[in-house]
Every structure is written in structure tokens, then in C-alpha cells.
């Protein structure tokens, strides 16, 4: 057990936990932010995607001891009122089926557009390839990323 000061969604949290505990479980079980999902635990599915200093990272494979004083943003902190362009585009395109993968998809898309405001089809697909959608909403995901680019 050790104590960590984490910066999440612009708030400070002190977490007492095993230094190896992945950020995912600190978020979900300790802090109580459950928007970030567990899908595989081995950085293969993207359900747990959050932003660390603006980069999309897999929180299931990031120990809290490695977060340091990095700025973490989760789906709950992506926007104040759920109106980030990516969230709006996801609503407009009516992307989800079960919805379980979508917070991870949205976080990957938001990180992509932050760095590349006008991605090509290939760039979208390759940036989103780490996020599995078992329900198969990929066509809508691509459309929504393109729409979000126009809403920026």
C-alpha cells in the first residue's frame, strides 16, 4: 500500500492502494468513476481508454504509480455538460448498440481529433483500431468522428 495524489478531471484525489493497481481499478473501485470500462485488462480492447496529458492510454495497463502528476481525463470529465463535439457527434449519429465500448471509443476519438483535426478515413480507422466494438458499430463510429471534426 502506498499513497498517490492523482489529478483526475481537474480534481485532486488521494488514493491509498497497491502501487501496481492499474489506474482503471483506482478510477472504478476506489474513486468511483465507472464510466471507464473493463473489457480485457491487457490493453487489447480499448474499453478503458482515458487521456493522460492529452494522449489516449489504456488505463487497465497503467499502474497508478506511473501516473505521477499527469493530468488524467476520463469520460466523466471530457466536457462539463456532455457537449464535447465528439459526444455531440456520437448522439447525432446515434452510434451505440449496447454502449459498453463507447466511452473508450469517444476518448480515443477525442484524442485523435485534438492532434489531427481533419483525419482521413485511413487515419480514423487506424487511430480507432485499438477499440473493439463487439456490437459492430464501426461504420457509425467512423461517421461520427468525421462529424465531430466538423463540429469543432
Amino acid at each position: 500500500m502506498a499513497s498517490f495524489n492523482l489529478k483526475i478531471n481537474k480534481k485532486k484525489y488521494t488514493v491509498e492502494a497497491d502501487p501496481n493497481m492499474p489506474l482503471l481499478w483506482a478510477l472504478r473501485d476506489v474513486i468511483g468513476l465507472t464510466g471507464t470500462k473493463f473489457g480485457c485488462g491487457i490493453a487489447q480492447c480499448g474499453a478503458c481508454t482515458v487521456h493522460l496529458n492529452g494522449d489516449a492510454v489504456r488505463s487497465c495497463s497503467l499502474p497508478i504509480s506511473a501516473v505521477g502528476d499527469g493530468e488524467v481525463v476520463t469520460i466523466e470529465g471530457l466536457s462539463e455538460n456532455g457537449d464535447h463535439p465528439v459526444q455531440k457527434a456520437w448522439e447525432e449519429v446515434d452510434v451505440m448498440q449496447c454502449g459498453y465500448c463507447q466511452s473508450g471509443q469517444i476518448m480515443s476519438a477525442a484524442a485523435l481529433l485534438e492532434k489531427n483535426p481533419n483525419p482521413s478515413d485511413e487515419e480514423i480507422s487506424s487511430a480507432m483500431n485499438g477499440n473493439i466494438c463487439r456490437c459492430g458499430t464501426y461504420v457509425r463510429i467512423r461517421e461520427a468522428v468525421k462529424k465531430a471534426a466538423t463540429l469543432k
Partner: protein, 733 residues
């Protein structure tokens, strides 16, 4: 206009106390009773709610809450079912909130997600629920105004009388609760629908896209512990001894013990499929700590039955394909005779592996068992069956077990088999605390309940005039043969033979999105393509000729399809895809299949890019009768197509000595974004027939359309899934 007697499910319409806050629903909890869906977040909450019937309550300000009775697994019934109620209630959809109803077998009829049946089977009930409430509100208004109810009309939640006066539903709701339930109600004409048929967004969009807690895995309660299980690593094994000395002393760990979830003497139901009834359980304060302790367990396992390997059952299934069945499942004419005299015989064997469901949200369930009873909450497709088994296992009467449903991170059939809910209850009782059982992906993927491995051999006899005269189909699969004896092309061919074999295994299997159809469509529709080529006909023309034969002069009596509707989707997809114009460099495949009461035909275009096939576009024509929510319907079809292509192309479970070779997404490949079709376009037949479901029917044809397009592109007929294992390169953008 249709007049319907309301009595067949009157219990749903029994009046209940008009207590504010909804005395209607029992077993409510934080997850369900948090602010209901309000997309815009702008609806003002009423001061008081009036329960009109089991499906809806109306606030004094006119806001309406509609309860969605069935489990939501991503098939979007939580939007579509309330739309149907709202239509007949005649309210503004913008004024509607939706809440998931918990299991209540007195109030609701069939709270089960399976077989694409939610919309089809509940269509009338949901309409009656809305229409009954509307009628009661109108009668309350008629009493107020002292006018006959026949002079009143409604629109968007407002009642109007002949002199032009109006009353909102909220203004008469308190009186409506004491109006006599009408004996019969009028349902709208389809032409008057204002909500049904309008593209309508998912009611949970906002919550999901902002990360609100909605799923089973998100449940948190005061004092709740986390439980995880270790099941045997191989099918045919059980725990022999457990050394938990290290695990027990790890941080946060409360207890380690072994349970049996279905003790002897309890008669299993169909939904109790489970290969691992003896489990080692670790309970602790958080998921990570429990995961670590689980790794520290030293468990010795022992084999209690045969440890099967893929090679072994593959050979056994192949051997079965060479064996005559004791009794045919169907026989028309004299197949042996026409095969003997055939000028040409086309033959091909198709095979497919076991598949895991891999719902994105792994199995999990919340349970709390006290002296008063058991409370269960989580993702489950069969809440009623879960209650029955849990009550039996805990030795409680059914009324003492409540089951609530969360939004579910996928189903695909996996959550029909609710052993994890029973396990949660048994663990909660043992530790005497509320617990959430969580499976890791590895626990989930290696637990079984798989789509069975299947094989089928097709043979076609062609006479000297190049006519198809006979078909023989012999199927074999783990626990079941995949073949449906009376489906197309049965009924279209004079001499027809179906034989079924099955092979026992301790590898457990269960329904997986479009059971059996998910394999048979690929085999049948690839084979018909090959036969069409052998007789020198266009693949669509050839299918239409067979369907014409089935419609005009059917062979046999028990043909499980409507040939005219089948032909309808093929004609529609031919027109929409421009099938008859050939395009340079574009290789096309067609496929059509009927299952779960809906008809689907697809044309799929492949182009070669750097000598790799890319799925450029899929056209999908569908006959599911009235389309309740076109947006949701299209989403289901798109998902079905991507799911079908992905699994046909990439996925499989294989075994060595009973142990699965795959246990997570690094060794079990699921289709990814860059591999999905560039474009999918859907078209619906408009015929006004009562609606049927779409959760499954979009999937089966996709793999065959792909196989047929790949044949056009490469000259190779693919028949062994997953296709990516053949020398053919994988599809990618």
C-alpha cells in the same frame, strides 16, 4: 382501425395505488431509480406521478414515464418498446422518460431477450397498454367536461373536445387512475402513426456518452464486496484441492472458499447450462486486490471426464458426415435414385469452429441475500429463469427473490445462461454481505456456453438438361446438428434429403446470435452459388426460380418460410445494388436468408487493394414488416453484418486436452474498425405486416455474401471458417 379486447393480459392493467414516486415497481434500487432518461435534460419533473398501468405513469405536468419490460442488451428494445406504447398513448416522444422495469411476471408477459422476439411478441401488448391508458385519460376528461367520450380527440398528450377546449394528460391523470379499465380499445391505423416509423435516437445515448453508471459492472452499494471465481482450466476438470494460504493473507482479502452452484437434487432448466459447477471463490475489498489473490491460489485440478482436443472432435464430426442417419429429418421424392442418374453432382463440406460470445462487458452480477430474501441485479437475458434457479438453490420461495436488470454490455445469447447470477447469490449468502461477482475476460472466454463447432455436407444432383433435381444435406455438430430440415431450399427441390447427427461433449454450448442459422446460412448460400454456377445461371435468377417453384408448386408441406417475402428481399437488393450492371474491378456476392421471422438479402462488393480484399459496400434488403424505429433497425443490421463478417473471417475457439487455446483478445481475434465494410446501406420492404425482430437476422447472410464475393474475386470457394486461416489474405482497409 383495429378494435382489440383488452382482457388477455388484464393483470397488467390492474390499477395500482396512485402513490407519488411510483408504488408500482417493487425492488427498486439506486441504479434504476436515478433520474430517468432525459436526452435534453430539460424535462421538468412532476410533483406527483399517477400510475395508469404496468407500462406507464403520468406526471401532473404531463411528463410520461414508460417502463421498458424487456432486457436491453444492445438490441435497442429500451427505445423501441416504449415507442410503441407512446404511439398508442398519443404523446409527444419528447415528453417521455424511459425506465427499465425489473422482473415482474405478474405484470409482464415475456421478459426475455432472445430469438429476436421482443418486438414481435410484445407488439400487441404494448399497443394495448398505450391505447388503454389513452382511453382512460379521455374518459376522465369526458367526465370533467360532461360530454360523451366519442366527441374527444387527442394529439401529443392533449385532449380536445368538440368546442375546442383542451386538457393535458397531466391535468386528468389523477382522475384517470380511478376510471374503469375499458373492455376494449381502438388501436391506431398504421397510416396515423407519428412515432412508429420515425428514426428515433437511443434513449440512453446521453448517459452512455457521459459515462453514467448504467451497466452491471458499475453497481456499487454500501458495504459491497467484490467476488471473483476460479473455474477449472479445462472442460472435464474440477478442483481437487485448494491451497489458499498465500491468497488469504493478501491485502483486502476477506475470504476464500469453494462453492457448488447447482447441487444434486436441483433439476436444471434449459438456462442452467454450465460446465463448471464447482468454483473456488475469492472475496475482497476491490477488484484488483481480488485478482491478485486469485493468482496466488494454488489449486490442484482433477479430470472427471474426457479431455477433448480440437483434432479429436473435428475427426469425429467428419466421420459422422460419412454415416447415414438412422432416420432422415426430412425426405422428399427419391433422392438416392436421382443422384444415381445425375449428369453432374456438386458437393462441398462446410465447417465452422466453436465461438465465444465475448460480450464486451464480461459476466458479472450483484447479489444481496438476507433473512428477508435475495436481491439480484445485473445483466441477464433471462431474469425469470434466473429467479427460478436462484430460489431453488437458496431454498427460498420465488416471491422472496427479486431480479433487476441493468443495461447490458452485449448479450448475443451469452446472458441467457445465468449461472453467474446464481453464483453471485450463493457467494453473497456465504459471506453474508452484498457482493458483486466479476469475471475477468479470461474467466469469461474459457467458461464455455460456446457456439458449437459444426459441419455440413451439401450435395446437389443436376440432370442432363442442367436442372437441379436433388439435394442431400447431412449435418453434424457438438450437442446438435446445425441443419433446419424444413428451411429453404426444402420445398423447392423434388428430391430432398436431410440427415442430422450430433456429438456429445463436456465442452458446453449455448445459443449464440442466430443459433445454427449463423452457420447454415453461410453453408447453404455459398452452396447455392456454386450450384447456380454449375447450371449456368445468375445467382439471383437461380434463387428466384427456386422460390417461384416453392411458391407455386411447393414440394412437401412443412416448409418454414414464405417464398414470396423471401423473393421480395432478393428483388429489392438486386434493384438497389444495381446487381445487373457489372462494375470493373468490383467483385460481388449475394446471399439471402430467413430466420427469426425476418427476411434478409445482401449484396457485398469486394475490391482488391494491394492484392488484399476490401469490403467496399454491403447492400442489405430486409422484410421485418413494420419498422418500429428505422434508425435502431439499421444499426442492428449494420452490427449484424459486421459481426457476421468478423466471425466468419477471423474468430475461433480451439482446445487441447480440454483446455481452450484462446483466453483473451490477443489470441482470439475480433473484427476491428479498419476491417469493417466501408459502407453499409439498408432498405426495408414496406408491407404493413406486424413487425418481427432484427437482433439476429442481419447476421447469417453476411458470411455467405462475403464467401461468394471472394470467389468472384479469387476463384476460390472458401468453406472452412475462419476464412482468414486459409491462404487468402485478410480483409483490411
Amino acid at each position: 382501425m383495429e378494435i382489440i379486447k383488452t382482457h388477455y393480459n388484464r393483470r397488467s392493467f390492474l390499477k395500482v395505488s396512485a402513490a407519488a414516486g411510483g408504488g408500482l415497481m417493487i425492488g427498486f434500487n439506486w441504479l434504476m431509480s436515478c433520474a430517468p432518461s432525459d436526452e435534453k435534460g430539460t424535462l421538468a419533473m412532476p410533483d406527483e406521478w399517477f400510475d395508469i398501468n404496468a407500462y406507464l405513469k403520468i406526471g401532473n405536468n404531463g411528463v410520461v414515464t414508460i417502463y421498458s419490460p424487456n432486457p436491453e442488451i444492445g438490441q435497442n428494445v429500451k427505445t423501441a418498446m416504449p415507442m410503441i406504447v407512446a404511439e398508442e398513448l398519443d404523446v409527444d416522444w419528447g415528453n417521455v422518460l424511459v425506465e427499465q422495469a425489473p422482473l415482474n411476471t405478474i405484470k409482464y408477459k415475456r421478459q426475455l431477450a432472445g430469438g429476436s422476439q421482443s418486438i414481435r411478441q410484445e407488439w400487441k401488448t404494448l399497443r394495448i397498454a398505450g391505447a388503454t391508458a389513452r382511453r382512460m385519460l379521455m374518459e376522465a376528461a369526458a367526465q370533467k367536461w360532461q360530454v360523451p367520450v366519442s366527441e374527444l380527440t387527442t394529439d401529443k398528450g392533449v385532449i380536445k373536445n368538440a368546442s375546442g377546449k383542451t386538457l393535458g394528460y397531466g391535468e386528468v391523470a389523477s382522475q384517470a387512475v380511478s376510471v374503469e379499465i375499458p373492455e376494449e380499445v381502438q388501436l391506431k391505423d398504421a397510416k396515423d402513426f407519428k412515432i412508429i416509423g420515425k428514426p428515433t435516437k437511443n434513449v440512453d445515448n446521453k448517459k452512455v456518452y457521459t459515462g453514467q453508471p448504467l451497466f452491471g459492472l458499475d453497481i456499487k452499494r454500501e458495504g459491497m464486496l467484490i467476488a471473483m471465481i476460479a473455474h477449472a482450466p479445462a472442460f472435464g476438470m474440477r478442483p481437487k484441492s485448494v491451497d489458499d494460504s498465500a491468497a488469504r493473507n493478501m491485502p483486502g482479502i476477506k475470504d476464500v472458499f469453494t462453492i457448488t452452484t447447482l447441487p444434486d437434487g436441483i433439476e436444471p432448466q434449459w438456462s442452467d447450462v454450465n460446465a463448471f459447477k464447482e468454483l473456488v471463490v475469492v472475496v475482497g475489498d476491490n477488484t484488483w486486490n481480488v485478482m491478485q489473490a486469485k493468482k496466488a491460489l494454488k489449486i490442484e485440478w482433477e479430470a472427471t471426464s474426457e479431455l477433448m482436443s480440437t483434432e479429436g472432435y473435428e475427426k469425429a464430426l467428419s466421420d459422422l458426415l460419412e454415416k447415414k442417419a438412422d432416420k432422415p429429418a426430412r425426405m422428399d421424392g427419391n433422392p438416392d435414385e436421382v443422384f444415381k442418374k445425375a449428369a453432374k453432382i456438386v458437393e462441398r463440406t462446410y465447417s465452422a469452429p466453436f465461438l465465444a460470445h465475448n460480450t464486451m462487458e464480461p459476466m458479472n452480477f450483484f447479489a444481496h441475500v438476507t433473512a428477508d430474501g435475495a436481491e439480484l441485479l445485473g445483466p441477464i437475458q433471462t431474469p425469470e429463469q434466473l429467479r427460478t434457479t436462484t430460489a431453488a438453490v437458496l431454498g427460498l420461495p420465488q416471491e422472496k427473490v427479486t431480479v433487476g436488470m441493468t443495461r447490458q454490455g452485449g448479450g448475443f445469447g451469452r446472458r441467457l445462461y445465468g449461472h453467474f447470477g446464481v453464483e453471485a447469490a450463493v457467494i453473497a449468502k456465504y459471506v453474508n454481505a452484498p457482493i458483486k461477482l466479476v469475471y475477468t475476460r479470461e474467466d469469461d472466454m474459457t467458461q464455455g456456453t460456446y457456439r458449437p463447432a459444426y459441419k455440413v455436407k451439401y450435395q446437389a444432383a443436376i440432370d442432363k438438361n442442367n436442372n437441379l433435381v436433388g439435394i442431400k444435406i447431412r449435418g453434424a455438430g457438438i450437442h446438435e446438428s446445425p441443419v433446419f430440415a424444413n428451411r429453404f431450399p426444402a420445398g423447392a427441390v423434388d428430391h430432398y434429403l436431410v440427415e442430422n447427427h450430433s456429438l456429445d461433449s463436456n465442452i458446453s454450448t449455448g445459443a449464440w446470435r442466430a443459433p445454427r442459422s449463423n452457420f447454415m446460412a453461410i453453408a447453404e448460400q455459398s452452396f447455392l452459388d456454386e450450384v447456380a454456377e454449375a447450371v449456368g445461371k445468375d445467382p439471383i435468377d437461380f434463387r428466384l426460380e427456386l422460390l417461384d417453384r416453392a411458391a407455386t408448386k411447393p414440394v412437401g408441406e412443412r416448409n418454414d418460410y414464405d417464398a414470396a417475402r423471401y423473393a421480395g428481399v432478393l428483388k429489392l437488393v438486386r434493384e438497389k445494388s444495381g446487381w445487373d450492371e457489372k462494375k470493373d474491378g468490383v467483385h460481388r456476392g449475394v446471399s439471402a436468408y430467413f430466420c427469426h421471422n425476418s427476411y434478409v438479402a445482401q449484396v457485398l462488393d469486394v475490391v482488391m487493394k494491394n492484392s488484399k480484399p476490401v469490403v467496399q459496400k454491403v447492400w442489405c434488403a430486409v422484410d421485418c414488416g413494420i419498422v418500429v424505429n428505422p434508425e435502431g433497425a439499421k444499426n442492428q443490421l449494420e452490427g449484424g453484418i459486421v459481426d457476421g463478417l468478423g466471425h466468419t473471417m477471423y474468430s475461433e475457439m480451439t482446445f487441447k486436452d480440454g483446455k481452450p487455446d484462446q483466453n483473451n483478445f490477443h489470441n482470439y481475434k475480433l473484427i476491428r474498425n479498419s476491417e469493417a465494410p466501408l459502407e453499409i446501406e439498408c432498405f426495408f420492404v414496406e408491407n404493413g405486416i406486424d413487425p418481427t425482430g432484427l437482433g439476429e437476422p442481419g447476421l447469417p447472410p453476411a458470411g455467405a455474401a462475403l464467401a461468394n464475393a471472394l470467389y468472384a474475386a479469387t476463384g476460390k470457394r472458401l468453406s472452412t471458417q475462419p476464412f482468414a486461416k486459409s491462404e487468402l489474405a485478410i480483409i483490411t482497409m
